[in-house]
């Protein structure tokens, strides 16, 4: 494979390209579904091929093929597309001047049979659940990336992923809970059967006991699960530099951070947020990105200020920086673009229980259901799956409702950050064609004052 990729690089340069990147990627594994305890499907897969990215004539071209015998033709096409697009640019595409990585790394493989895994998990679902569905995928991603400016990276990473959906449907109402687990080792599944058991039991309890919250403003204490979705949606996405610069404008959207004002204050002094692909054993783990740039922790928010963005080489060059290794491609036929990996609020110094005890009138939100946010990531809405009133420092009546919050308000009103820490698994979507990449999100328990609940 190395020879083929090198030939592709040489050929692209001979055609006149300024930069050529060749990436071979294979994703191989099995995905299995279980529906209400019954077998639904078993699907083995092995898809992959070679992608070539070329800068030529001022433009960026991308071409991919699943047939190795067509790689040279693919180089020609990428070159031709780059030149055609370059004629329709105001300024030529350029990359940062960073030195790409040279590294080979392999994460130890593991064996788990997805159907057996799902049957075991299914046996832990509470009997009161009306509909239950599980999907599990176990696969390995193998990549070889070579770039014309010296990048040389081989990696092999196994992953496991489980999705569970439970619905309790009764004459008095209906509730749904979605759960996710995943990682690069079986450690990812540790105690997940307990989570399945506990969370599926809550459907009946909450359906019976949770009351609509009286709309108003409350001091809100967020669990690490809530911290994760809030960080991911309102900080991680808007700090992707390609989004800020408008590249995703028609689809995933732009950002409340504007190109002329990149380093703004969005939170209180207690807010520190990091994106770190190098956290081992996480679903979002990697050591080198898909442009062959070494990964490192990215300090996105420090003391409430935006201090760094999630970058690839092209957009780093636009602001005279070096890429911080944020470019990811979900499959062989997708281009690498700035993405999150493991994104979290860093812990503070409060005991999480102490935050609740310190709250006179508020709400503790343990988990969420439906959620969404506008495309500049300013106005968010999060449905409460499990939440409780807090009265004089004690958890009281379970409630249901929605948090409706603007990003600056959410993070500026933070006055307590816990010293606990937990990451939650997700699949992050962005790009056209859509690229779902494995990520985690989380952090500690924290409190934000006077937020609107409806």
């Amino acid at each position: 494979m190395e020879d083929l990729l090198n030939k592709a690089i040489d050929y692209g340069l001979r055609l006149g390209a300024q930069y050529v990147e060749a990436r071979w990627q294979i994703d191989a594994g099995r995905v299995v579904g279980l529906r209400n305890g019954q077998f639904e499907f078993s699907h083995g897969y092995k898809w992959g091929g070679v992608a070539v990215r070329v800068i030529a004539g001022g433009g960026l071209g991308f071409s991919a093929t699943s047939k190795l015998e067509n790689v040279m033709e693919t180089v020609e096409r990428a070159y031709k597309l780059a030149a055609a697009g370059g004629r329709f640019r105001k300024r030529p595409v350029a990359l940062d001047g960073g030195k790409p990585a040279k590294l080979k790394y392999t994460i130890p493989d593991f064996v788990v049979e997805p159907l057996e895994l799902l049957r075991e998990l299914d046996s832990h679902v509470d009997g009161g659940v009306t509909m239950r569905r599980f999907v599990s995928s176990v696969w390995t991603t193998e990549k070889f990336i070579i770039t014309s400016d010296g990048g040389y990276v081989y990696s092999k990473i196994p992953r496991v992923y489980v999705f569970a959906l439970f619905i309790k449907h009764a004459p008095g109402g209906s509730l749904q809970r979605d759960l996710f687990a995943g990682g690069v080792s079986l450690e990812a599944l540790r105690n997940f059967e307990k989570t399945v058991e506990e969370e599926s039991k809550k459907l009946s309890v909450l359906l019976e006991r949770a009351k609509p919250i009286a709309p108003g403003r409350y001091d809100v204490v967020f669990s690490p699960e809530m911290t994760g979705i809030l960080v991911h949606e309102s900080v991680g996405h808007p700090l992707e530099l390609d989004r800020i610069m408008g590249r995703e404008g028609a689809e995933a959207g732009e950002s409340y951070i504007k190109p002329g004002d990149l380093y703004v204050k969005i939170g209180s002094d207690l807010v520190n947020i990091v994106d770190d692909p190098t956290v081992f054993d996480t679903y979002g783990f990697y050591l080198v990105d898909d442009e062959a740039v070494a990964a490192r922790p990215k300090q996105l928010i420090k003391g409430g200020w935006v201090v760094e963005h999630i970058m690839n080489r092209q957009y780093a060059a636009l602001i005279n920086k070096r890429s911080n290794g944020g470019a990811r491609a979900s499959a062989f036929d997708r281009e690498p673009i700035p993405r999150m990996s493991n994104t979290f609020l860093t812990p503070g110094d409060w005991d999480p229980e102490e935050i609740v005890r310190d709250t006179k009138r508020g709400v503790y939100i343990a988990s969420y259901t439906e959620w969404n946010i506008d495309d500049v990531r300013y106005s968010g809405r999060y449905g409460i799956f499990e939440g409780y009133l807090i009265e004089n420092g004690e958890l009281k009546q379970p409630i249901r409702g929605f948090l409706e919050v603007d990003t600056p308000e959410l993070w500026s009103n933070v006055d307590a950050v816990g010293k606990d820490f937990k990451l939650y698994v997700g699949t992050c979507g962005k790009g056209n064609p859509m690229q779902g990449v494995p990520v985690t999100m989380g952090g500690p328990t924290f409190r934000s004052k006077s937020l609107r609940l409806t």
């Binding site: 191989a28 579904g33 529906r35 019954q38 077998f39 499907f41 078993s42 699907h43 083995g44 897969y45 092995k46 091929g49 433009g59 960026l60 071209g61 991308f62 071409s63 991919a64 093929t65 699943s66 047939k67 067509n70 693919t74 096409r77 597309l81 055609a84 697009g85 370059g86 004629r87 329709f88 640019r89 159907l115 509909m131 619905i167 449907h169 209906s174 509730l175 749904q176 610069m245 408008g246 590249r247 995703e248 404008g249 028609a250 689809e251 036929d333 997708r334 281009e335 259901t369 439906e370 959620w371 969404n372 946010i373 506008d374 495309d375 809405r381 449905g383 929605f402 056209n432 859509m434």
Partner: protein, 419 residues
């Protein structure tokens, strides 16, 4: 393939040649091409079933491994023998991707505002073969274009889809018209309330696509995650104004395919007929469970049927954004939406975020631009409160739509709105 190890097999080779020109800030950001060549194989032994997908050609080692796994699997409760009606062949010539650059230029020039977007051309070649001796092949082209134009903090998206190159000048002109309509209007936010809502074809197509995909899909009915059960067929479950047809069968539809993964030609499916639930979409597996014939909707695989193109039948309201707002008299116009999420897929309690222009309508006219609007309601409430549809339809598809659609403007009363 060693067929002695399995009882039946079907192979569907799918080759998709994709070209995509993406642009932002009025310049090309990337011009892409990717060629997917996947062999999808369906295997059975007794009533055990499994599927395998390999790219770049048939990977026999991988297939052998999956065959070995078959014996470890339980019987498939929805197993049906491989088979079906004879297939036919249908071939189109591949269209010239080089036209995409001019198409995009034309749209940007017509918008006259900072624009971002995408033009995508797909040439899909499919070969089907199974162990009963059935075989067939087809090749079709499809294209869509989306463009979002910005003026300060105002934005508007238009999208067109079809089986040939789209009229991109029209996309730019519509964006320009809507931005002009918004200029100078005050901006405001909404408080949670119920109101009349006018949905653009983009939003109407998106939401009705959600209904068809999640609720009138026989697999979801079997799973118990659909709002509907078999007993609901023939009942009035929506406004009498609403008729929806699944149009994958129509060669003019963006989502057209001559036959599905089971080699069955999709047929016209009357989902809702004047508010009455008539049919679900099926593959052969779900159809057998219901005692009916497949509707030909094994679109992307063997497990779950899926819609490939829905059409909302037109009504008699004017097909013009200003005229339809005039008819609605008061409420909100929502031009585009994204991030549709469910609190509960069975009850259909959901919210979706309005993006681009949303107008507050007062006395039949746009009175303000609304920032940060959401529809937060149930799908059922939307279905039951449709009061008018425009008299023409548009074929639309973009990145966040679940299913390509042909849709009119749709007016719905008493819709839950929030910020």
């Amino acid at each position: 393939m060693k067929l002695s190890k399995v009882d039946e097999a079907a192979v569907v080779n799918v080759k998709r040649i994709n070209y995509m020109l993406r642009f932002a800030n009025d310049e090309v950001t990337v011009f892409k091409n990717w060629v997917e060549e996947n062999a999808h194989i369906y295997l059975t032994r007794g009533k055990r079933t499994a599927a395998v997908t390999t790219s770049g050609g048939l990977d026999l080692e991988m297939v052998e491994r999956e065959i070995e796994k078959l014996s470890e699997l339980p019987e498939d409760p929805l197993y049906v023998p491989v088979g079906g009606p004879p297939l036919f062949n249908y071939m189109e010539e591949e269209k010239n991707f080089e036209k995409l650059v001019d198409i995009v230029k034309t749209a940007i020039d017509a918008a006259g505002a900072r624009s971002a977007g995408v033009a995508r051309l797909v040439y899909q070649v499919v070969n089907y073969e199974d162990t009963t001796g059935r075989s067939g092949h087809y090749a079709v082209n499809k294209m869509y274009m989306t463009m979002r134009s910005f003026a300060g903090d105002l934005a508007v998206t238009s999208a067109m889809a079809g089986r040939d190159f789209v009229n991109s000048k029209r996309i730019g002109e519509v964006n320009s018209q809507l931005l002009n309509l918004a200029r100078g209007l005050p901006k405001k936010r909404v408080e949670p309330r119920r109101a009349t809502v006018v949905l653009s074809p983009l939003v109407a197509g998106h939401l009705m696509g959600e209904v068809v995909s999640h609720w009138t899909n026989a697999m979801e009915v079997i799973s118990g995650s659909s709002r509907y059960a078999v007993e609901d067929l023939g009942k009035e479950v929506a406004s009498p104004q609403l008729s929806i047809v699944e149009k994958t069968y129509d060669p003019a539809s963006y989502g057209y395919v001559p036959f599905d993964f089971e080699g069955v030609t999709p047929r016209r499916v009357e989902i809702f007929q004047r508010g009455v639930l008539r049919e679900f979409i099926h593959n052969r597996r779900t159809a057998a469970k219901f005692g009916v014939e497949s509707t030909g909707h094994a679109i992307d695989g063997w497990v779950r049927p899926a819609p490939s193109h829905v059409e909302i039948a037109p009504g008699d309201a004017p097909h013009d954004v200003e005229a339809v707002m005039s008819e609605a008299k008061s409420g909100y116009y929502i031009h585009n939406n994204w991030y549709t999420r469910y609190q509960n897929i069975k009850t259909g309690q959901f919210s979706t975020v309005g993006r681009d222009l949303a107008f507050e309508i007062v006395d039949g006219k746009p009175a303000a631009v609304v920032k940060f609007i959401r529809i937060a309601d149930t799908l059922e409430n939307l279905l039951r409160h449709i009061s008018a549809l425009s008299k023409a339809v548009e074929q639309v598809y973009w990145w966040d739509m679940p299913t390509p659609a042909t849709a009119p403007y749709v007016v719905i009363e008493s819709v839950g709105i929030t910020t």
